[in-house]
Amino acid sequence: MGSGLSSFLLICNSTTTAPPVSPEPGLGDLPESVVGYILLHLTPQEICTLASLNHAFHHASLADFVWESKLPKNYEMFVSRVFDDDKFCYNLCKKDVYAKLSTPTFIDGGTKNVWLDKGTGKACVLISSNGLAITGIDDRRYWSWISTEESRFCSVAYLQQIWWFEVDGEVEFPFPCGTYTLYFRLQLGRSGRRFGRRVCNSDHVHGWDIKPVKFQLSTSDGQKAISQCYLSTDPGKWNLYRAGDFVVEDSKVPMKIKFSMTQIDCTHTKGGLCVDGVVILPK
């Protein structure tokens, strides 16, 4: 509504000076305010590409009303959840706010990494295995921590062997409206580097082909998803295993999600698994 009023005032201002319209206007003759309306219909990446077209496009690409339409409706909640100092919002133009929010940021003591997806303006959340409740994580017979450059969190949890395999977690976050999918990022086998090459040690890999792994997901507004699958027998590759989807309809209330991955059939042991963490991406 505010942008409508300001654009009306713009029209009023332009009509008082009323420059003559050229006989055959082209894309390059459109005034900045009008170009802004065209940019409203393009994605952020396209807007940034077209900023280098000419001066009118460049100025239009800086317009607040264009980027306000790209930011999620609850972006102020997002800012206060992610940044300690949320005052910066008031000093930056909306484009810079969007740029800042779409840069991955570590939160909650480095256990989570969040950003806005550049194309859709929806949230992406990575949760480190450090931020999950892993049964037996403190027992060095079962679990250990490996440093690796293949994880954004620089270390992953490695399972030698266990009977009761359970990984739980929960997250509360102001997700913008939309549909999201939750995945577990896992790798069978333990990868490392030897003589500059990537190698994978699958000595401990066992037990995953006997019974499937169960994934569960539930949200604070009553959505539930349950699935099960066998882990891929392809060692040395990081895979995203889909636990389920959830829909955010009201972005004014932060969504609380509980999720788990279990294989608790105690007739057999399983092991040789790297757990990087949980990934939540827009569908």
Partner: protein, 203 residues
């Protein structure tokens, strides 16, 4: 109160006190045929009050167009001019030629006539009208954008801007400059600076 009435008041209020004609078009006693009733309904979609008043619009090349007020107020600019009392004789539109104004009026008429119903048929009909409406040459399209902006007709501005956005989607700046004959008014340093400040979008 009567002595404070002037011609403006009479012009505005007189249609309120006209007899409500026709009284009951559905009544067979009055002898209206079905097609007459359908015609009545399509021409008087909202209320009797709005359809009896017309507005005269004058294009930049001097041509005049008489339109129903309901159609004219699709333009917020014209609506405000009427409300501010600037529309006694005709409304001059120095930034819009007759060719473009007639197209804009055609668009507004269609959108006023089609009720905002959930009827799928009406919605589909309007969509195909809109799709055909923008099948024009480039200079007409840009003229329509400028007119929609000047006249502040949000739906027409959205439609025409979406059309242009679809034309430039996925093209590099060089391709767009070639297709639309746009002059690159950046120095190489300025262009590099702009590219750098937008690099975050491609990381």
């Amino acid at each position: 109160m009567l002595k404070n009435l002037n011609s403006k008041h009479i012009q505005r209020f007189s249609y309120k006190y006209l007899p409500q004609f026709p009284i009951s078009p559905n009544s067979p006693k009055l002898g209206f045929s079905r097609s007459q009733i359908a015609n009545y309904r399509s021409n008087f979609p909202t209320t009797i009050m709005s359809s009896s008043k017309t507005i005269v619009l004058r294009s930049s090349d001097g041509e005049t167009f008489e339109v129903d007020e309901a159609v004219a107020v699709e333009s917020q600019t014209i609506k405000h001019m009427i409300e501010d009392g600037c529309a006694d004789t005709s409304i001059p539109l120095p930034n819009v030629t007759s060719k473009i104004l007639s197209k804009v009026i055609e668009y507004c008429k269609k959108h006023v006539e089609t009720p905002n119903a959930d009827e799928k048929v009406a919605e589909e009909d309007l969509k195909s009208f809109d799709a055909d409406f923008v099948k024009v040459d480039q200079s007409t399209l840009f003229d329509l954008i400028l007119a929609a902006n000047y006249l502040n007709i949000k739906s027409l501005l959205d439609l025409t801007c979406q059309t242009v956005a679809d034309m430039i989607k996925g093209k590099t700046p060089e391709e767009i400059r070639k297709t639309f004959n746009i002059k690159n008014d950046f120095t190489p340093e300025e262009e590099e600076e702009v590219r750098r400040e937008n690099a975050w979008a491609f990381e």
